[in-house]
Amino acid sequence: MPDCDLPFILSLCVQPTVVLDAEQTLVAINDAATDKGFAPGAPLETFCVINPGARAILRKCRVSTNRKRFNTSLADGTEVEAIGWRLGGPFRSDGLVILKLLDVASARSHFIVTANDVRHQRRSQRLLSLNDTLAADVERLDRLASRDELTGLLNARAFREAMDARIADDAAFALIYLDLNRLKLINDTLGHRAGDIAITEMAQAIMDSIRGEDVAARLGGDEFAILAAGPLSTVGMASLIARIGDRLDNAAQNATLDPKLKYSAAAGIACWPQDTALASDLEDLADRAMYRSKAKRLAMVFARTLDLDQSYGEPAFHFPATKARSAR
C-alpha cells in the first residue's frame, strides 16, 4: 500500500464511498458509508444486493480506471446508483476498486429534468433555425418580388412604391424615364442574347451614374426609370443623363457583337412637385417627354418644355442609320 492515505482520499467524497479488494471485501470506507451501515472487513454483499449484471460490471471495474455505473440497493431497500473504477496511479498494483454510491431517486429526477431541458433546448434551437430559414426565404422572396430578374434593378411595382413614399414624405424629386433605342432592331439583327446584353449594359450605365439616394428601375422591355432625389437643377439632371450616355458609349465600344453597334437612349424628365403635384400626371408627363426625346432624337426632353415645343441641348449620343434587314 503506498504512503498516501486511503481514508484521506475517501474523506474527500461526500457520497458513501467504499474501497474493495480483489475478493470484493471492504478495505476502507468513509463516514457517509458508515452512516449507511457499511463496515470494513466484510464482503460488499453484506450491505448491498449484487445481481448478476452488477457483479459483471464490478468485475469490469477492476480492469480499468474508467468509471462504470450500475444500479443496486442497500440492505435496507434503498436504491442506489454505484459508480466504480479501479484505483490507479500509486494504487495500481493493489488491485483496489473504489465504489461511490449515489441516491438513485435524486439522480433519476435530475436526469429526467435535464433530459427535458435538453429536449426543450433542442426544440427551441430547431425553431430558431427554422425561423432564420424562414426569414431568409421571406427576404429572398421579397427581393424576387421587387426586383427585375435580368438587371437586378427595382421592378415597376417597387419603383412606384418608392415614388409614392417620396410623395408621402413631401420630398421633391425628378422622375426620369429612359428608353433604350433600337432594342427591337438589336434583337432582330443580332439575336435576343445581344438584346439582353444591351439591357444589362443600360442598367449598369444607370447604376454607375446615379447617386446613393437615387432609385433606379427597369419598368419592362426597353423602358427604365430613375427617381432622382431632391430638387435637381437643370444642369444637374443634364449631367446625370450625360454620364449615362458616356457609360453607354464605353459599353458599346467594349462590345464584340458588332463593331458598328452603338447604344443610346431617349430621356424624359418631369419634376415633382414643380411640374405637377399628382403622381399619375407626373408619369404621364415624363412619358410624353421621353417620347418627344425619342422622336426628335434628342438626349433628353424636360416635361415643362412640352407645351413650348422646345428641347434642351444638342444630342449627346446617337445611333447610326439602320441597315436594311438582310434576307434570310
Partner: protein, 174 residues
C-alpha cells in the same frame, strides 16, 4: 400495392447518407451528443467507456494472443484494427515503452466533431487490446478530431512506472 422506389420524390444529394453505415454512425453520434448534454461530458465518457470496454474485449479476442508480445506487434494490431473500421492510424514512433500513433480520419467521420466522449471508444479498445497482451496499458488521447483538430494523437504506454496517470486511462489485464 407495390411502390417502386423510382416513383419516390427524393433529394438525391441528401440520400447519399441514407445507407446502413451512415445511419448507424449517425445514431451513435446522436446518442453520444444526447448523453453529453444530459449527463455531462464526464459521465457520458463513462457510458461510452463501458461500451468501449465491451467492444474492446470482442476485438481483442480476434487477434491471436499466442504471438510473442513485442511493441511493434502491438502497434501492428492497433493500426490493423483501426484500418478495418475506417480509421487510418499510423505509427509515428515507438520509443522506450511508448507507442505514439496518429491519424487523419476517425471511423465516425466528421460526425465525431464536438463529441469528445466518443474518444473513449479508441481509448478503451486500445487499452483492452494492449493490456490483454502486455498486462498493462495507459492510453492518452492528446489531440483529437473531436476537439476540432485535424488529426488524432494517441500515446500508449506499456510500462506503468513511466505512465503519466494524471491524464488518460489505465488498463489492466482481466
Amino acid at each position: 400495392m407495390t411502390i417502386s422506389p423510382t416513383t419516390l420524390l427524393i433529394d438525391e444529394d441528401r440520400a447519399t447518407r441514407l445507407n446502413d453505415t451512415d445511419f448507424f454512425g449517425d445514431v451513435v453520434a446522436e446518442l453520444a451528443q444526447t448523453l453529453e448534454e444530459t449527463v455531462g461530458l464526464s459521465d457520458a465518457e463513462g457510458f461510452i467507456a463501458t461500451v468501449g470496454e465491451n467492444i474492446g474485449e470482442r476485438i481483442s479476442d480476434i487477434y491471436d494472443t499466442g504471438h510473442a508480445v513485442t511493441k511493434s506487434y502491438i502497434a501492428q494490431i492497433l493500426v490493423d484494427l483501426k484500418d478495418r473500421i475506417g480509421g487510418d492510424f499510423r505509427v509515428v514512433e515507438i520509443t522506450g515503452d511508448k507507442i505514439i500513433l496518429t491519424n487523419s480520419r476517425c471511423p465516425f467521420g466528421d460526425r465525431v466533431i464536438g463529441k469528445t466522449s466518443l474518444c473513449m471508444m479508441t481509448t478503451n479498445v486500445f487499452g483492452h487490446v494492449v493490456a490483454d497482451r502486455n498486462g498493462y496499458a495507459h492510453v492518452r488521447v492528446a489531440e483529437s478530431i473531436a476537439e476540432n483538430g485535424n488529426h488524432c494523437s494517441v500515446t500508449v504506454t506499456l510500462d506503468a512506472n513511466s505512465a503519466d496517470t494524471s491524464q488518460g486511462t489505465e488498463f489492466f489485464s482481466g
